[in-house]
């Protein structure tokens, strides 16, 4: 029933995109109302998908609604309506091949269809194609930056929904949980090294999303980490996506790069402080995950210890990502300029305050849990100590240094060489990012030749082949 209603807008999309969008939004709103009134109860991931999809539909221009719709229909696990869903997917498949994101879209559809088919046949690990796509396995790695670079992209939506789905149906995937853990850790590490060599903000956002989803995948696959997944990491990733989205949208509108992450300047102090605070809060959240895993490892398996180490490294690297985004601005890859008008400054202050608020969102579920369950939130030792230490240290630093005015302010830059000149004469530092990290990242990139060969293959043929293999597997 749920998918049947949603297929209608997909069909209308063939003739009129605007009508399809309005109809889809209306259907989703009605479904949410029905859920709220108790007439049509929905699962958690369905509600999340509906809400995210509604947000996506607001943007009338560049939104890949089509792919969002595919994710919406495909990921929601209702194998009873398989023929109907398959029909919708085929319709969308035909459409998406004409789009500029067509190739990614086709692979998204292949992975989703396969997930549904394998689930229908009762395979123990139906989500494998989806997971492989999320971690950038062949042939998906070629489109990974595009998939993760934007909050609106289909990859982010699918990945987000997929991990929620995995977490909800963890019992079905228990046999392959170690594989999921491994893939999650691999995704995180690959993301970390990729961030070191990124030269564009789109790449950087992509790697941030990739790191976050790697961590989500890790925590979604372990039953003991359920509280961490639901109450901290998931809200943190949503916050991160929303912050990126806000920055990205404003940046597109202003067109001068001033809203890009890390665009610290002496004029935009509030923006700078809120950006920094956002990273520090995210760093704390990742650290908490690491602490839980190490603690579990000390009491149990070495696997958790290793994962804890990976997570700690990811936390450390989140700060490196921040530094990288800052130096990207400084090195001139982005033309960050300073705003002038009073109204613009006010807008920046508002956005900055919003950023800070969103960064603190991950704390809210903990508070809500605390209220609902009578003041007993999940215990995360690092949350209390680390955040407290950072808060006290920052306030004390501001108080101490705020009172101490500098004796002189001088322009010491005169006579110094520019960064570009330094880059030419002392290449060691500036080339080091790539020289050191590219070979490490290169290890995880499979041969491009295979990717090229797959690119030449018709996706429809590939889909048919995979489905046939799946059916043969079931028969055997």
């Amino acid at each position: 029933m749920y998918q049947a209603i949603l297929v209608l807008p997909a069909l209308i999309y063939l003739y009129n995109k605007r009508s399809a969008r309005i109809l889809l939004a209306a259907v989703q709103a009605i479904l949410l109302v029905l859920h709220a009134t108790g007439f049509y109860p929905l699962q958690l991931q369905q509600i999340l998908v509906l809400v995210v999809s509604l947000i996506l539909l607001i943007d009338p221009v560049s939104n890949p609604q089509l792919l969002a719709l595919v994710a919406l229909i495909g990921v929601t696990p209702l194998p009873v309506n398989l023929p109907l869903v398959a029909l919708a997917l085929l319709v969308v498949l035909a459409l998406s091949s004409k789009k500029n994101q067509g190739r990614v879209g086709l692979y998204v559809i292949i992975a989703l269809s396969l997930t549904l088919i394998l689930e229908y046949f009762g395979y123990p690990f139906a989500g494998a194609p989806l997971v492989l796509m999320l971690v950038g396995a062949l042939p998906f790695q070629k489109w990974l930056p595009d998939m993760y670079s934007n909050y609106k992209s289909a990859g982010v939506l699918v990945a987000f929904t997929a991990v929620v789905f995995l977490n909800e149906n963890l019992a079905s995937y228990a046999a392959v949980a170690p594989l999921l853990l491994l893939l999650g850790a691999l995704t995180t590490i690959v993301g970390v090294f990729q961030c070191m060599i990124s030269r564009r903000f789109a790449d950087l956002f992509s790697t941030i999303h990739q790191i976050a989803f790697g961590l989500l995948l890790v925590s979604a696959s372990v039953k003991e980490l359920d509280a961490l997944f639901s109450y901290l990491l998931l809200p943190a990733v949503i916050s991160l996506s929303v912050i990126n989205h806000v920055h990205d949208s404003l940046n597109e509108k202003t067109g001068n790069g001033m809203f890009e992450f890390g665009g610290l300047s002496t004029v935009m102090r509030v923006e700078a402080a809120s950006t920094l605070a956002t990273y520090l809060v995210l760093f704390s959240l990742l650290s908490m995950g690491a602490e839980v895993l190490v603690q579990m490892g000390v009491e149990g398996s070495i696997g958790f210890i290793l994962l804890g180490c990976v997570m700690l490294f990811a936390a450390a690297s989140s700060l490196a990502v921040f530094f990288r985004s800052y130096t990207l601005v400084f090195e001139g890859f982005s033309n960050s300029s300073i705003i002038s008008g009073g109204s613009q400054k006010f807008a920046v202050a508002l956005v900055s305050a919003g950023n800070l608020l969103i960064a603190l969102v991950p704390m809210w579920p903990l508070l809500a849990f605390s209220l609902v369950s009578g003041g007993k939130p999940p215990q995360f030792e690092a949350l209390n100590s680390l955040l407290l230490i950072m808060l006290v240290a920052t306030i004390l630093s501001v108080v101490v240094m705020g009172g101490a005015k500098p004796g002189k302010i001088k322009s010491w830059m005169t006579g110094y060489t520019t960064v570009d000149d330094l880059q030419g004469s002392r290449g060691e530092i500036f080339t080091a990012w790539r020289e050191i990290f590219e070979p490490v990242y290169g290890i995880s990139i499979p041969d491009d030749g295979v990717s090229r060969a797959l690119e030449k293959t018709s996706p429809l043929m590939l889909l048919a082949l995979i489905v046939m293999l799946a059916i043969i597997g079931v028969i055997i």
């Binding site: 070495i302 180490c309 700690l312 130096t327 230490i389 950072m390 630093s397 060691e428 530092i429």
Partner: protein, 304 residues
């Protein structure tokens, strides 16, 4: 939280950290057949800087002034959660938070340098971040191996007694190697090119902010040097009963600090500087060794 011990710990950090740096400089000088500065030289430098005028670059923002103090406070927080001259630690926390604070202070230092907008500051900060990203995995893995032996993440001597074994020795050696890399001295830095290498991040600082940055670095090093103390009871039998001040614990702590200082000085004197890419290979070897220590620690009898 035990406030008297906490106050004692913080006072100890502020007094001892520059002295330990002075001792390192003295030992290094003697190893190179030089007289070297007095042990108290780093203290004199800090006091002199506090008396000097603070001059900031024109384009620098407010955060440039705040970050040195923040770096010092994070380093002090690292030190505050350890049991140094006492059996029990004065503040709640543990090995994981210790690592996180170490990472955080390194990045605060790097970002502070870059905020000056001086190209040398950016270069120094960039180098600092590269080194931190490369060395942190080793510190994380080797410290986790030691945590497995302790069977707890707390940084005190009140947990179970440790047994000497090959695996524990490997874990301690792995940590010391990581410490060598973390210290940022030769073979990863040279005094003659301080402003172009790891000191580059400090190029635009002067007066009190510079003193705070330097003090932050000293305290951070002191905290990292203090870790081996918790595992020395396996090699030097000391009575760890009670939770207050103990002469035996103080003696153990002093031995730990002296050993670490000597190790860093020896490495500084006996090696030439590495280029950054050579250093990255060294870090890879240290990480491999630390991983081996972790695996051995997991399967060693008596760990966890």
């Amino acid at each position: 939280m035990n406030l008297p011990i906490l106050a004692l710990n913080l006072a100890l950090a502020i007094i001892v950290a520059p002295l330990l740096d002075g001792l390192r400089r003295k030992i290094t000088a003697r190893l190179q057949n030089r007289v070297g500065p007095p042990v108290t030289q780093s203290w004199h430098d800090i006091l002199k800087l506090f008396r000097k005028e603070t001059i900031l670059p024109e384009k620098a923002g407010f955060l440039l002034r705040v970050f040195p103090a923040l770096m010092l406070m994070l380093s002090l927080a690292m030190f505050a959660m350890m049991a140094t001259v006492t059996v029990q630690s004065p503040m709640e926390g543990g090995g994981i938070i210790f690592i996180e604070l170490a990472v955080l202070s390194a990045f605060v230092f790097a970002i502070a340098g870059s905020m000056s907008r001086n190209p040398y500051g950016v270069v120094g900060g960039s180098r600092e971040v590269i080194l931190a990203t490369l060395v942190e995995p080793s510190i994380i893995v080797s410290l986790t191996a030691l945590i497995l032996f302790k069977g707890s993440t707390t940084l005190d001597d009140a947990s179970k007694s440790l047994a000497v074994g090959g695996s524990l020795i490997v874990a301690v050696v792995a940590y010391l190697l990581s410490l060598l890399a973390e210290s940022g001295r030769v073979p990863f830095d040279v005094a003659e090119a301080e402003s172009e290498l790891t000191g580059g991040a400090m190029i635009e600082f002067s007066g009190a902010p510079l003193a705070m940055l330097k003090m932050g670095q000293y305290v951070r090093s002191l905290a990292l040097y203090s870790i081996p103390k918790f595992f020395m009871t396996a090699f030097i039998p000391v009575d760890m009963k009670g939770d207050g001040f103990s002469i035996a614990v103080v003696a153990l702590y002093v031995v730990s600090l002296l050993l670490c200082t000597l190790l860093i000085s020896l490495a500084e004197s006996l090696n030439a500087r590495y280029r950054l890419l050579e250093a990255s290979r060294f870090y890879a070897i240290v990480l491999a060794f630390s991983s081996l220590a972790l695996i051995l620690a997991f399967f060693a009898p008596g760990s966890r």
